[in-house]
């Protein structure tokens, strides 16, 4: 499987590649809710149709925390494309999130 560093340089790949995002939360907290809302909004804007979001509640599945080395809540993990990236916090800063996930804003390019 080819590793895609930057979908912008390889637009054809973006069709095949699905962004697998995982959001770790711990119960229904304000921060988690904010983070999820923010994430959904960014993905709709920049990765429409190319992403999946998996929300993991560690209160329900605490054993999953170890696998992705989760310390902070909420943590957003980009599993695919590799390499793994993590963004912690309520994702309130859009620019930082996009840089962190290595997503180049579509609006600016088109």
């Amino acid at each position: 499987m080819p590793v895609i560093q930057n979908p912008k340089n390889n637009p054809s790949m973006s069709n095949q590649e699905t962004w697998q995002l995982r959001l770790y939360v711990a119960g229904e907290t304000l921060k988690s809710a904010t983070a999820l809302r923010n994430l959904r909004q960014y993905c709709e804007t920049h990765l429409k149709g190319l992403y999946t979001i998996e929300v993991i509640d560690l209160l329900v599945q605490p054993q999953l925390a170890e696998g992705d080395q989760i310390l902070a809540i909420p943590t957003l993990v980009r599993k695919v494309p590799e390499p793994i990236r993590k963004i912690i916090g309520d994702l309130s800063n859009e620019e930082k999130v996009l840089v962190g996930l290595n997503i180049v804003p579509l609006l600016k390019n088109t």
Binding site: I70, A72, K86, I87, G89
Partner: protein
């Protein structure tokens, strides 16, 4: 009233403690770490924090039935297992038995981006899960400060750490948090602010190019604890802390005596040697046979089927064994039997305190009846005078409390016993023997004195100390008009005396013979005189007899004559009547 209640109250609420199993540490804390509370252990890199923490968990899991969780922020689980396996801890086995759990928490700054508010609930959940999965009673966080290098938001971190320690308390686990020493603070991030129940500092100091590890308990809420710096040792069995400064003068006293292995020396010591459990110091200048005295003591101990531990700080074990063969002591057979154990080390190998830790540790393991330290003065090279004295004081106390007979040798720079620098040692020991060089007539001989021997009637005389092929001998020195005679001078004196005695004997013989001859002569004379006398007597008797017979004859003749005469007269005139 208020005071009264205060005095009576604390007892039922006494702080629960959790034994660490770290040798010596539980003694100085009177029971270990505060149970159900977090404790902080801090120190520089390489001071033994992680090891201490691991020992705490392993002993807990193996000996006290308290499973533990090790949260590693620095080393991976398998690295950690390998690192401590050298100490004989089989971490993997404990993990398989669910007695131990190692959680490696990795924070890679490069793959983490921070945006907005967050908390460390994930860490709490992981920890909680780990604790619950094995029912852990002990938790180690090593080193939690790594979080600070991985995450930017210090304010959040500090708040979360405070919450974490509170949470650990609520979880009722005994937690040990390690922290790296910071500039001017105990830990780099000031963890001591949060963990305030018990703070332990490990130190690694270098003095005279020798490093010594030390441990100190800075605070321990709700408990008495030793406040000193205690040296500790990390060796094959992990950490041993030495809690000896608390020793008091209350050792038990033994009254039976042990021989020194030199019959003549025993004779000087009231005929029976020194008390068991007492200490003997043998001092002397180089080459006076101190080691020989010490080894013959060791030999004597082993001959009685008792164990002897021999610390050689100058020679290796093989060297001592070989050298002692020359005076007829076969130490090898004792070594083979396991009665004699040599521990040879360079004094500079580690600090003085470390030596003490090492010595006490070996004594605990080997349980000897006699300990020989040869020489004790070599230790001075690694410490100052006062240090040496305090260490020896502690060592002697330890030995006495354990009822172990101790023999030390000490090198004195000058021949004078009075002004030597190990006087300090000498005041501590019970028996002090000094071997002195006596230089005379172009040769050097050894004179042995007993400087003191507490509670034992001992000889005040100087004896000549002779090392022969068959062991050590003490001989009376000659005290004559010429002063003290030793060595060949003494032999010469002996010969001279012998010659004089022989000459005297000859003279006596001659006189005796003369007397006998005289006696014979006189006897002969007496016989001659007797013979003369006999002849004379015979002659005289003969003369006397002649005279008598002649008289007889003449008497009878006269009778005849008379008769004749009267007959003629009667014829003439008729009888008169």
């Amino acid at each position: 009233m208020a005071v009264k209640t205060k005095i009576t109250q604390p007892k039922p609420k006494a702080l629960q403690k959790s034994l660490t199993g770290v040798s010596g540490f539980d003694e100085i804390t009177f029971g270990g770490l505060p149970a159900g509370r977090p404790s902080l252990i801090c120190g520089e890199a390489g001071s033994g924090k992680t090891l201490f923490a691991m020992e705490f968990l392993v002993h807990g899991a193996m000996e006290f039935n308290e499973p533990g969780v090790f949260v590693a922020f620095e080393e991976k689980a398998n690295e950690l297992a390998i690192n401590v396996s050298s100490l004989g801890f089989d971490v993997n086995k404990l993990v398989a038995q669910n007695k131990l759990r190692i959680d490696y928490i990795h924070i890679d700054r490069s793959e983490i981006e921070e945006t907005g508010e967050y908390d460390l609930e994930g860490l709490f959940i992981r920890l909680g899960h780990a604790i619950d999965s094995i029912g852990a009673k002990r938790v180690v966080l090593d080193t939690i400060e790594n979080l600070f290098s991985g995450l930017d938001n210090k304010a959040i971190l500090r708040a979360e750490l405070r919450r974490l320690f509170q949470w650990l308390k609520e979880k009722k686990v005994t937690a040990l948090i390690t922290g790296e020493k910071g500039e001017g603070t105990l830990t780099r991030e000031g963890l001591e602010e949060y963990v305030s129940d018990c703070v332990i500092v490990l130190d690694h100091r270098v003095a005279n190019q020798i490093s010594t590890r030390r441990l100190r308990i800075i605070k321990y809420r709700g408990s008495v604890h030793g406040t000193n710096e205690y040296p500790f040792l990390i060796d094959n069995d992990g950490i041993s802390v030495l809690p000896v400064t608390s020793l008091k003068l209350q050792g038990k006293v033994l009254t039976d005596r042990v021989g020194t292995g030199i019959v003549t020396l025993d004779a000087m010591l009231g005929g029976k040697g020194i008390y068991r459990g007492s200490s003997m110091l043998v001092t002397g200048t180089a080459g006076t046979g101190k080691t020989s005295i010490a080894t013959s003591f060791a030999n004597e101990t082993c001959k009685k089927n008792e164990r002897c531990l021999y610390f050689a700080f100058e020679e290796s074990a093989d060297q001592v064994v070989r050298n002692m063969l020359s005076i007829g002591l076969d130490l090898n057979k004792h070594i083979k039997k396991g009665l004699l154990l040599f521990h040879a080390a360079r004094p500079t190998m580690y600090g003085l305190e470390m030596h003490l830790v090492q010595i006490t540790k070996l004594i605990r393991e080997f349980k000897p009846q006699t300990v020989v330290i040869d020489p004790i003065t070599n230790l001075v090279t690694v410490g100052s005078q006062t240090e040496v004295q305090s260490i020896l004081n502690r060592l002697l106390d330890y030995l006495q409390v354990s009822g172990i007979t101790a023999v030390f040798t000490g090198l004195t720079p000058t021949g004078n016993a009075g002004d030597q620098n190990d006087e300090t040692v000498a005041s501590l020991v019970d028996t002090w023997i000094h071997v002195k060089d006596i230089e005379m007539n172009g040769e050097r001989n050894r004179g042995l004195y007993i400087m003191k021997s507490r509670g034992i009637k001992h000889s005040n005389q100087v004896r000549e100390f002779i090392i022969t092929d068959n062991g050590l001998v003490l001989q009376d020195v000659y005290l004559g008009a010429e002063g003290v005679l030793t060595g060949s001078a003494r032999e010469a004196h002996k010969l001279q005396l012998e010659a004089e005695r022989q000459m005297q004997q000859e003279t006596i013989g001659k006189n005796e013979r003369e007397l006998k001859r005289k006696e014979k002569e006189l006897e002969l004379k007496i016989q001659a005189l007797k013979a003369e006398f006999e002849t004379l007597k015979d002659n005289l008797t003969a003369t006397y007899n002649d005279e008598a017979s002649r008289k007889k004859i003449s008497d009878s003749k006269n009778q005849d004559l008379l008769r004749y005469r009267s007959e003629t007269v009667a014829g003439n005139s008729k009888p008169k009547k």
